[in-house]
Point group: C2
Chain length 265, copies 2
């Protein structure tokens, strides 16, 4: 299956040390992580290298004249795409100094601004944006409620927040992985209702993610002034599987969740 962007922002695990210490770490700029991340298909090819992009694109509002924030912008592929859609202004935010340096180097546009910041502490300016976007970043955030509350403040009423995260079915298991059987592939789930840290090895050892149930993700949005517009448990379409048969396994269990929410008040 194609390499995927998005397992790309996290904090190094400091088991037994407090959350604040965890937050201060930045695994993305570790050489081995950054090298691996840079080689991902979606890092090289951009949005077209991400199999879920067509599904996200289908939910995208008209960005012409809009002020856009890209939370966890990485190399800035979406920020530049938004600018091509004639957004009035785009702010890309990422924790990684290396990624922001690369995003700046790859961008030749006055309408895009980049900022290094940790989304676990970042506060959006109030009523500053018409659209918020985030790709595969929020599952690295420990305090989702705080983040959603500040995004709510940063958006104008009626504005959309469109984001993807790792699907909780993919996140939940303590030992995530396929089981091969005669009848096909199985994805064993456990600990689904037990929210919190999940530690995996991906590009670097000890990548920390935060599992939340789908219910918690949606209720956090609803309880903080968003209405749910669309919930998509992404699966490849027939054409994508025809071109890349390895993608078929994504229909056995969803890996990516796409949520479109609208600020209501």
């Amino acid at each position: 299956m194609p390499a995927r962007r998005g397992f790309d922002r996290t904090n190094a695990p400091c088991i037994g040390i407090g959350i604040e210490n965890e937050m201060a770490q930045n695994i993305y700029d570790k050489p081995e992580f950054f090298a691996g991340y840079s080689a991902l298909q979606r890092s090289v090819e951009g949005l077209g290298g991400a199999a879920e992009w067509p599904a996200i694109r289908a939910r995208m509002p008209d960005l012409k004249g809009k002020r856009v924030i890209d939370l966890g912008c990485g190399f800035g592929w979406f920020s530049r795409w938004a600018q091509e859609q004639e957004a009035a202004h785009v702010l890309g935010v990422d924790l990684s100094e290396n990624m922001i340096a690369r995003a700046k180097a790859d961008t030749n546009d006055q309408g895009i601004e980049y900022e290094i910041a940790n989304l676990d502490h970042y506060e959006l300016p109030k009523h500053a944006f018409d659209f918020a976007y985030s790709s595969l970043a929020f599952h690295y955030i420990s305090d989702f409620k705080r983040l959603i509350a500040t995004i709510h403040e940063g958006l104008l009423p009626g504005a959309h927040l469109l984001f993807t995260i790792e699907h909780p079915i993919y996140m939940a298991p303590t030992r995530p992985g396929w089981q091969a059987t005669e009848g096909g592939k199985l994805w064993p789930v456990n600990q689904y209702s037990v929210e919190g840290r999940r530690i995996t090895d991906w590009l670097a050892k000890g990548v920390v993610k935060y599992h939340r149930t789908l219910g918690t993700t949606l209720n956090t949005l609803i309880d903080n002034g968003f209405s749910i517009q669309h919930v998509e448990e992404w699966q490849p379409d027939d054409d994508q599987i025809k071109r890349n048969p390895d993608l078929a396994e994504e229909r056995e269990r969803p890996m990516i969740l796409i949520v479109d929410a609208q600020r209501t008040f």
Copy 2:
């Protein structure tokens, strides 16, 4: 774990025969199914015999003076509870003649009416209800969109639809069941994105259910004039597990989904 109501309404499988023929069948009134259903803890004890009831109860609006419909009412436990909350009128609907006969025999209240009807074809009278409820019935319905559209018509704007279904993680697998490992219980998932019929043996052989992804369930509501108010992937609380340790497995994977939706227009 306690016996559960709700795997209690379905249609006998007629593999290779058209949907319409399937719909005409009624497995609930087969003697072996009805006997098994009647012996379930929740059939004997009522709402208090269902472990998820406290979570549902917490989402219940004030029913005083309300016109209520109970879709898949079974023995009428919820219909009678609604009447105790001083609902103005309650209509309980179920496909099973045996269940409705028992519901009528157990009810001594002029404010409750019971009707035998197949929810796959039933049409609610327009603007007739202030609240719609359904417990573990909708996963037996083949055309969820049609059902939601008629519920929308039956409710007044602002009215809530509160329902439970089997959770899609529980529904999806082609061979649902636990795997026991040294590390604990696992629930292997496959075919999650492949919606449609699932055939299981429960109380009778060949019980047909209709798997839909969580996204499809929510989007069907949203696209048909409901706003999502709350999504709960039910899990037992600590007290429940203390009283009944077998319930702990429900935290490994959710079995019941609770959705609270509101008619918006």
